[in-house]
Symmetry: D2
Subunit: 463 residues, 4 copies
């Protein structure tokens, strides 16, 4: 039976401990270097800040958990429960007692959704740590092309040996391949059962975490004893509670280069306008993290804007062009969706996500009509950023990926399931999956990040 969330002070994680046999960690007696173990009772604060009153800056932000309580968590398939969000989370790390016999453990690893810098780092470290526990090399399987590899006969799982993953962190993308699309949860669980997989790692974003949660529930429902542990991935940094997602830093770094290129182009042109569309379906973290001194205005999904009128975007830009001779505007792909005109119903993609209307091209067209004598340069570097191949990850992201992966393996051996791993207030934690995916994390229009950017560039409210 799943453990229920706790007493109002710690958020508990589901586990299979009741069904599995406890045994001592292999690191007790031999090659685990120093440090010892983490206790199930070690705790990490979910919130490290206390606001004096709700007048304090940021107190109403989504990141202020106090503002969120009570919170609705999809506790199970039948009904949503309203929970009081507890104060603490369980700490990530190696446990003294484990619940799988490494020699008999079969592990599967799956990467789903869009590619993101660091995926191969995560895969590599998952394999390394599993082998460190003593899992035989022949028992670690890589599922090909997302969940598709569970049922596509042409793309059988591959055995991931230490040698195979040795240098994969130097390449971009994912050696396993990835794909989008709604998973066939029942089909996947059948394979997990058939292939006797004890531990499934799913590296994915909000969609991938939701799928992991569904697989976990189906496993519970079908009595398949498989621990499902997610590693959260989001180039947009749009997961709740977690300090930052891996790949995000690398993406901001690359986006910065694109903005600089737009600046150069715009300033070399006669009344040049640089228009840059960046990633960010529902949240504008990448866009909002850009350094000032280059962009003149920024549009994100979280903040509405108007184009025309005295206080509109265009009047503002016109003024900048008059002063500086050129301007640079940066727009997140999810911004202004309600304004972009399109015929009829909005289309959905195969995962049920709405297909975004192209705000970049729409803005370009609108600007061409308004700024008749300007030279508009449109750049859409999203693809270049997402793939970032030459320097796959920054050193910081690399260490982060490794720690997440190690934490995930420790969690699975500790018997946890239906959880995800994340950095919270600089410490690594285990969190029940529903907690971080209940809503996309958004830039707080009254918060630090957005106000810092706006005050740096002097951007007013376009209303």
């Amino acid at each position: 039976m799943l453990q229920e969330p706790g007493d109002g002070s710690t958020i508990h994680c589901p586990s299979l401990r009741d069904e599995l046999e406890a045994r001592p960690s292999p690191f007790i007696t031999h090659n685990y270097f120093g440090g010892g173990f983490v206790s199930d009772d070690d705790r990490v604060c979910l919130q490290s800040i206390k606001f004096a009153t709700e007048r304090s800056a940021g107190s109403k932000s989504q990141n202020n958990l106090a503002a969120l309580r009570p919170i609705r968590i999809s506790e199970n398939a039948r009904a949503d429960t309203t929970l009081t969000l507890p104060d603490h989370a369980i700490r990530s790390g190696p446990r003294e007692t484990i619940y799988h016999n490494p020699k008999d453990t079969h592990v599967a690893i799956c990467t789903v959704g869009g590619i993101c810098p660091g995926l191969n780092d995560v895969v590599r470290s998952l394999v390394h740590k599993a082998l460190d526990y003593g899992v035989p090399e022949s028992n670690v399987l890589g599922i090909r092309f997302g969940f598709r590899g569970f049922y596509d006969r042409d793309h059988k799982p591959v055995v991931l040996t230490r040698r195979m993953v040795e240098e994969i962190h130097l390449e971009g993308g994912t050696i396993l391949g990835t794909s989008r699309g709604l998973p066939n949860v029942a089909g996947i669980v059948k394979r997990l059962d058939l292939w006797k997989i004890d531990i499934l790692f799913v590296v994915g974003g909000r969609g991938g975490n939701a799928a992991a949660e569904s697989i976990h529930r189906e496993c519970r429902s079908k009595k398949v004893p498989c621990c499902v542990v997610a590693v959260p991935k989001s180039i947009d940094n749009d997961l709740l509670l977690i300090d930052k997602t891996f790949g995000f830093e690398t993406a901001v770094e690359e986006a910065q280069k694109a903005i600089l290129a737009a600046k150069v182009e715009a300033s070399s042109a006669y009344r040049g306008i640089g228009l840059v569309k960046l990633m960010g379906r529902q949240s504008g973290f990448i866009t909002a993290s850009l350094a000032a001194g280059i962009v003149d205005a920024v549009l994100i999904p979280e903040v509405q804007f108007t184009l025309e009128g005295e206080k509109g975007l265009f009047a503002y830009l016109e003024n900048i062009i008059e002063t500086k001779g050129h301007c640079v505007l940066c727009v997140a792909e999810g911004a202004g969706q309600e304004m972009v005109d399109c015929l009829g119903e909005q289309a959905m993609d195969i995962t049920g996500r709405p297909i975004l209307k192209d705000v970049g091209l729409w803005l370009k067209r609108k600007m061409k009509a308004y700024f008749k004598d300007c030279d508009i340069k449109y750049i859409e570097p999203t693809t270049m950023i997402r793939r970032e191949a030459s320097i796959p990850t920054t050193a910081g992201d690399r260490v982060y990926c490794k720690m997440l992966a190690h934490g995930a393996v420790h969690a699975a051996f500790a018997g946890y399931t239906g959880i995800t791993v994340g950095l919270v207030n600089t410490h690594y934690c285990y969190l029940p999956i529903p907690l971080i995916i209940q809503a996309p994390r958004k830039v707080d229009p009254t918060g630090e990040l957005w106000n810092r950017l706006r005050s740096s560039i002097g951007q007013p409210v376009f209303e």
Copy 2:
């Protein structure tokens, strides 16, 4: 009077020497460091290779001048002349006798056309060398936004001091600004006369060189004693006779990164196809210079292709996807223009150049229909490459820009006009402008560059 081309062995350059007063170079007596002067009679071979017979590889290439003779050069405004192309060109460098009095000389510098890595390096070195000759700082003018700055009252010329240009080579773009569009030649020459400009430097591509030639002719016709010297610029490397244009190397370097990104994306996707559109309106040098080992097929304007059929591109790619699981296709923007369907007449831009039809989007659509179960990733990094802001130029391009600029200043002081500066067989030369712009330089489909690429990647003829 303009000098006439010579005796069949050396191509002479037009000059204003008959109209100007000769005087000794300032470098004779004081601060010119070593080396001495270049003689008007020093010669550079236009062709350093001799083919045994016309069966030798490359002998029929456009780069084999022997194959070109006789050649048509627009000798003057009245009529085209058929010339025998001579064997030698005049060497670039400082002359012992100069034809402008530096103290009274007024210089104007103008950058036209698209931006390209190295523009600021050229501007900086033009200014430096002019000041070295003894031109007063207040006499060196920068024309704003291409030729527009000659008649736009809002953008008067700026005085370019040593201090102003000190660090501009560390920035991308051009500090002068640039623009496209046909020049008002008569208007420009009126300003040159009014502002008493003795030397005009035009940094531009085929269009910019053609404009410089027209200005030179109008000056001759209106008796305006101004030396017009061009510095050739082309990110596409499409100028005849010249070893390479500046910015080209940097562009290939950047394009390489985009291709690598496409490779990562395609190989991470299920039956992934990376489709990359690169620069190259009429010649595919950038595309053809890409390293093998990444791209699987390449389409350039110089070589026709078919999509369907047994020997077509799609069958070929299908086969690669079957074998490797993914493929990467790279297309120059000017490729396959005759196939891209569009309604009615082809449009022209303001300079009279045909507006290219978008072969990238056309191919993407065609491929979506053909490769139904493939995941097509389309990248168009052109804009990122052209602006290349973070590392403005490679060290090699930087030295090249400086030498071109120095050569241009020496040419102007030597009284030459209507010429351009270029590297020919590793030596810097002066060439009459018409010589290098009579036709766009193209990748030779039977030559070394194209065959090296095709044999490396094993690409057949798509027919």
Copy 3:
């Protein structure tokens, strides 16, 4: 009078509020964008982790504040006090009430110690935010070459205008210049008084923070009403309590490249040994943050080692060379100081810091004697890393620098003095200077960072 530290639950910061006149923030009525103010009563947890027992991994680490209590803080010049370290710190940010009249406020900025990526970002943001408060441009002074500029007649302070600092964040180093050496505190305070400086910002490391503390005390003692606010800087990341110092990430990124270079060299040589000396006088954070997969062994100041003997470093490396054909060893400059033989007393530099003995050359000599047939390649990239000129800072470091600088300006206007600004558990705080400099922060030999590295590379204890 200085405020005393509090009630055991919050660490208070000294201020000049009793001596200065309170007034409303200029951001109340006009251009402060959103977000509102931070309250003096907002709190940040100093420790966001709770260990179940002291058997939990990391519980005895220096970073576990519980393990540190009680802690000795140099409360004033007369005596050290033993304090109970409180649970919370004061939050950084703009206050509703300020204590300087911007129009009459004079600000001085000073960078001291070694250079580090991000210094110019900090200077730029200090200037910007001071001007945002309404300080006249002519009132913001940059002190040249560290504290030297307070008394060197040849290097008078410069006025820092918005225009002057506009693009300095794109350059490495510090535009103010820097220097080492013990400050003449009395002399400095005389100038602060003479020049009527109301706010002094000191950007520096442990030494620079200590100097700022001394200046603050001397100001108090001499009744000079100047708020002294430090911005902590350390390429080594060796400051207590603070999540990380700026420049550290950039440094690790660069160190990574050097290690990769050593790996290439060693693996191309016959029995090649790559020996790399990195930064880290007292703490080996940079060295310990290197990614595994490249280095085979790592030596840091915090961990002792032996060279010879069965369990020594050399026997271990010998074994790796036998297996892989080459090896890479990385040593922090402060490692093994007690073993490096030198004659007589250890020398001190002008600031009283011991001059480190060169462990790199010593190891190289020892290894040459031991590994007679090996090809030892020694690299010392420290200088290249420290100066990191081509990409001055990562996007992450850039935002961090800006937030620290803004926090420092808000602190000074809020009347605080003798404090430093830092990121604690992902939130920006104000901390009394003595708190963070009481001891150098060290890599915990039983902690996560060191054990992660050791387990990744399989390094035993060299004893």
Copy 4:
């Protein structure tokens, strides 16, 4: 019998055609893509410039072949011959007739001397082109660690398959390993005979080419029918006649970064002096190719200098420090060797090369004594540059490496031996080895390169 050099107009290359059987190229009938063959009678001009008189700038330079004639070439082991240097060289490329039966051909590849960006590119392309000719995969051997692999039993040759070399161009260094030291020529030829090697490729610098020449002669003398073809490698660009060596461009690019770092450091320090030691044992090409605008003075082996006195280096630097506040000095490792004081005789390394005295440390000591109040920052980035791991080669160098390798394979199949491949006046040629190694190529102190640098930075003669 070896062919004798020719009639004064073309330099012939030795070959084994008399001893081998002619057969048609495999590319005639099947998969050679376009282009056709190169004729043995195709010619490339060795000199593409003609000086009017010897007063013309550069006419006395070492690069002016006219100035060199007559030239001494070590024609054979018995005696040196004085030759008239011919006007033309033989063109590189595929021949219609080949002299090895690919199916029975055994190939060995060897990399010797220091590592250099591009080595793996060359190895990869040698393998690819040999396989393209039809050599079986099992017949292509890689010799380990330079010539050592011919006789070291612990490091047997490795078979180089297409798969093995697939991605090696993405790594730095050389996968074969390298070593220095005089080769055991007799021993090597014995192995060539024993292992039935038909073609030996030696990738090396002046020393490696000299060794290849000795091996070729020993083969001739012992009647071992092996074609020895060299691929010239020199990070210093110090080979005669050849436009540039591979790796040189990449090295200049990296050196540029180090200089920039020194500039940042020096300008941040109080009276800072940046002193940078770069590569260049006998020729200062790298140092002399640095962009101006950063360095203030440059010392190369080809040009003498004095430190003290009114016209000395130190007085000059003192003046710059007074004006700018700091300075940057760059010195090639081989500069000023006659001045660096050392006791007794100069030592030789195992190859008989003199071990250079450390001019960098000597200068640093001298400067510390002279510039007492300056802050001297010494950087020695040589090791970082040589290994250049992150971006193994620029796109330009990569294509160059491939063309050299292809040319070498075509040469060997055409029966040539004792030759090297090089780019001359933008065309690829075959040259007898002695021609390019008779003397190190040097920067011409009266030539373009040196004068351009000196005039850019305003450096006088230090006498």
